[in-house]
């Protein structure tokens, strides 16, 4: 009786060790690789906006294709803050150190996409801020396996994510 129980436990442990552990480990590595490529793509995307001062529909589309090629689905959040350095271009002698109000007009993903759809491009100016954040929306194999053993719930559980923000360095041209 005792032997059979130990055998069952051993088989069970062996199954975990032989199948689940390698599978989990490889699934995690797959996600790491996906994250690596998403991070690289995001960095390139933002750096490109930063040094050219514009965002085109073609670049945005290319970026989406690159990240989706990892086999996951993503939620892309773009926020662009457009700078109005000094709406009332003036400097008062009473406040000589005050350079400007530095107002920012924020545009979010839907507005950016709308503008790209309409004009095919978005021109940015020096000092504008661009911030892109991506998270996977599907469940990767690693997440599935992990949930099998220890349940994680909530909408903020993601496995692959990348973030990048930068200040635009040039005034975009046509």
């Amino acid at each position: 009786m005792g032997d059979s129980l130990i055998t069952i436990v051993a088989i069970f442990l062996a199954a975990i060790l032989m199948f689940v552990f390698p599978l989990m480990s490889l699934a995690e590595r797959t996600d790491d690789i996906a994250e690596l490529s998403v991070t690289t793509a995001t960095d390139e995307f933002v750096d490109n906006i930063r040094t050219t001062g514009k965002l085109t529909w073609a670049e945005y589309d290319q970026y989406l294709q690159t990240i989706n090629a990892t086999g996951n689905s993503f939620d892309v959040d773009i926020t662009i803050y457009q700078l109005d350095e000094n709406p009332g271009v003036k400097v008062t002698q009473a406040e000589p150190t005050k350079i400007g109000e530095n107002l920012y007009y924020a545009k979010y993903t839907t507005q950016v996409e709308e503008e790209l759809n309409k004009y095919g491009r978005m021109r940015l100016g020096e000092g504008d801020l661009v911030s892109v954040s991506v998270k996977n929306t599907n469940q990767t194999i690693a997440q599935l396996l992990r949930n099998f053993f220890y349940q994680l719930t909530g909408s903020q559980t993601y496995q692959i994510m990348a973030e990048k923000s930068a200040i635009v360095a040039v005034n975009g041209s046509n």
């Binding site: 051993a10 088989i11 062996a14 060790l17 032989m18 390698p22 480990s25 490889l26 590595r29 790491d32 690789i33 690596l36 991070t39 690289t40 960095d43 750096d47 930063r50 040094t51 050219t52 457009q82 700078l83 109005d84 000094n86 709406p87 009332g88 271009v89 003036k90 400097v91 008062t92 002698q93 009473a94 000589p96 350079i99 007009y105 503008e115 309409k118 004009y119 491009r121 978005m122 021109r123 940015l124 100016g125 020096e126 930068a166 200040i167 360095a169 040039v170 005034n171 975009g172 041209s173 046509n174």
Partner: protein, 660 residues
Amino acid sequence: MKLQYIAVIFIIIIVPIVIITTTYINSQITTITLQNKYNTKLTDATYDAIKAFRINTVNNRYSSISDSKIRDIEAAVSTFFNTLTSTGDLSKRDIDAYVPALLFTLYDGYYIYSKYDNVVPKENADGDEISNLNMKIITDETELDTGDAYNTDGLKPYVFYSCRYKDGGSDFVVNYTLDNAITIYGTLRNWEWAGNTCNLKSGYSYQTLSGYLINPNYVEIIDNGANPINWKLKYKYTESGTEASLIKSEILTEHLLFTNYLQDASGNLIYDTSGNPIYDNGDYEYIVYNGQKIYYDKNETTKPTPYFYYNNYGKSFISNAEHNKDVLSYLNARLSTEADGSHHLYSTNAFEYYRDAKRFSEIISKLTDGISQKDAVDLQGNNIEFDVATGDRDIFVTNDSSNPNDPLLSKSIFDENRMQVIRNSIKTNLAVAIGNYNRYSTNSYQYSFPELDEVDWGKITNEVSVISFLQGIPIGYKFYNSYCVITNNDNEEVVKKDNIYIITKDRGTENNREYHLPGCTHLMECEFDDDSDIEIERGYSSIDFLRQTVRISEDNNIYFYPQTRVNMIGGHPSKDTKNITACYYCMVNATNVYSADDIIKGEIVELNEQEQEEVMISVVNDKGTTVEQKALEKIREYYLTALGRERFNLYQANMSGFNT
């Protein structure tokens, strides 16, 4: 075999695989993270470098002079290294070894910052030995390659964007610039200017010609008589038509702030409401003479002349001395006396730009007839291969209506060749500079010139830019190798087509002044009739909208914007100026603006619903008396005036004998 053994063997096989994969992927992640970190740092540092250059040139009133420019660039180099080393773990000395070159492209040439041998030749050009130098004599060239005693980092000599053309008896070099200005020197056909045309004569001679190349058929001079204030010319809508934008003399105004306090008639200081004395400030009419702004003080009666330079944040009046005779006669000829006895100073620079450019372009079109890209040769006389071939189409002939070539427009034959020459020159010199770096480097890394992509070449050939190279830093299992191109046109080097802003205001007042890009869609929708609410005041260069610093003492700066206007309270200027705001539709949110080329052509071309290009608004479209068409006519007139004036006003340090 028992199941347990199989399990153990399986684990023995799989665990190392998992460990190795994990380690490898982790190291890849570290590599990519480091690579991204260096990318960001490089962009930051390059941006800071160009920003330093801009701040220095805008606030340096002598920035166009060569020595001063070198100083500004050296300051930019030092900013680059400061930023690169400020947050990282590498010191300047460490990072220095990984930067093979920095490139600064300017208006008519470029500087390369790199390592070079800091040695002098043993003999001078005449073959005489240089003996009085207290230096060590190097007898063996291999000594140069060892250690760093003889090499130093610094700017190499300025290289012009030049290309040699040879055809028949003509053999000349053309120095290109970032816009339509060129200098031609070498053996050219003899010519004479008779009446209003250029006639070729027999024989060749060595000549130097500088000027702006335009299509001369567009320009028709109406008045170039004795009184400069009445000078005017037409810049036509089409080559053959009669309708045109009128370019005439104009009044230019700037706000200035001085370091002295405002005083009333009896010499007492004037205070603001909070009890602080007010710095003197006011609006002054100005014109540019020899690249320097000269202002007119209409209230000045005690000085010999009412004209002054803005020097050391004060007025430096021009004296009556003999050496000022030329400048004073230039100024006095442009000072009007109005019906009410008041005076105004008129700038005629825009007129002079188009008048001189017309003459220059006609001469060049005659002298270089038949010169095309295939005539471009290098020092040895071998033909140069360019990446984009324009075949045997004339480069500098601009007045042939069967072969359109308007140098003011992008993608003209002239512009294409200009970009190719710049690209070729930079590629050659930079490849040598980076290749040579291997001689000085102690790293095992092989430095080489990377392949720059087309977008970057587009930026480099059209704008003032800084290109930085960072190569050979070990990151994980790889070496970091990247470059960064950052451009900036808000400096006193160049006036690009997008660098003209148009000011609008409420009709007849100084209220609600707003500045726009010339292609602003909002501006294009305005009615500019005689009874419209707003009117166009004038176009100015974009740097007139940048903040200027007035330094009172160490750590005590005050600022002003030249295009704000004085705010008179109680009969004296107040401490605040009237403001001028940026247009939300084009300056803040610049997505949908028409291109400057469209404004010059007088045709707005857009994609229609079938995705085909269609002329939406045109100044020569008789069908439309639409609001937009009138707006385009007005905008084109102010835009061309401002573009001509601002380009004419640039101080051209390296272009002597302009328009001769």
